[in-house]
């Protein structure tokens, strides 16, 4: 699973700390997500997508969608 968190975060002028505070996780979790070292729970994926006003499918890409 891939994600566009880093790109969307830069587009929305959000720091990793800002995004972490908005979705209620630690900054390290955002770092791990951006590096692709962690696949989030459905709730966290939904929360992150809501921060960017997008759907889960637009933020998280499965398989060869990238």
């Amino acid at each position: 699973m891939y994600n566009r968190i880093k790109e969307l975060r830069a587009r929305n002028n959000l720091t990793q700390d800002d995004l972490a505070n908005k979705v209620g996780v630690r900054r390290e979790t955002i770092v791990f997500l951006e590096k692709g070292k962690y696949n989030p729970s459905l709730k966290l994926a939904y929360d992150i997508s809501r921060v960017f006003n997008m759907t889960i499918e637009e933020v998280f890409l499965f398989g060869n969608e990238e």
Partner: protein
């Protein structure tokens, strides 16, 4: 209405305090271990064998690891972030399960060497428990580095 607000705020403060206590608890446990270690060293005299000194060193390393975890939690609290979230819980779970598996082999090894060494049973058990703690710390560090990717 004001009373209800105060009641809700009171509950919120209690919850916040509990989260803070969870972060501080690590320091309390680490302090207790250090105090116990000091008493142990003082009571057994300052003429220690190499095995004893190695055991003290391992205990100090484990306490340092606990303090490191506690500091991470406090840092998160300072940044208004939860001390534990889904990733840290998952890392902890994975580290626990992996260290349990490795510990089984550690105890098998301890049983094997128990007949071949002159160590007392209580020393062997102590070494085994310390070994389990070290294995857990190593597993936690490794999993924190490589991440948790289930899919």
């Amino acid at each position: 209405m004001l009373e209800i607000n105060n009641f809700v705020l009171g509950i919120f403060n209690i919850l916040k305090e509990c989260i803070m206590k969870k972060a501080v608890l690590v320091f309390v446990v680490a302090g207790l271990v250090l105090v116990t270690l000091s008493v142990w060293i003082y009571q057994s005299g300052f003429n220690q064998s190499f095995t004893d000194i190695s055991m003290y060193a391992v205990i100090i390393v484990i306490v340092a690891f606990a303090v490191f975890i506690g500091l991470r939690r406090l840092k998160s609290l300072k940044l208004n972030q939860p001390p534990e979230d889904e990733l840290s819980k998952k890392i902890m779970q994975k580290a626990m399960s992996l260290s349990y598996l490795i510990s089984i082999y550690l105890w098998l090894f301890m049983m094997y060497i128990s007949d071949k060494t002159a160590l007392h049973t209580h020393s062997l058990i102590g070494l085994g428990i310390l070994g389990m703690a070290v294995i857990f710390a190593v597993c936690w560090i490794v999993i924190s580095r490589i991440g948790v990717k289930d899919v």
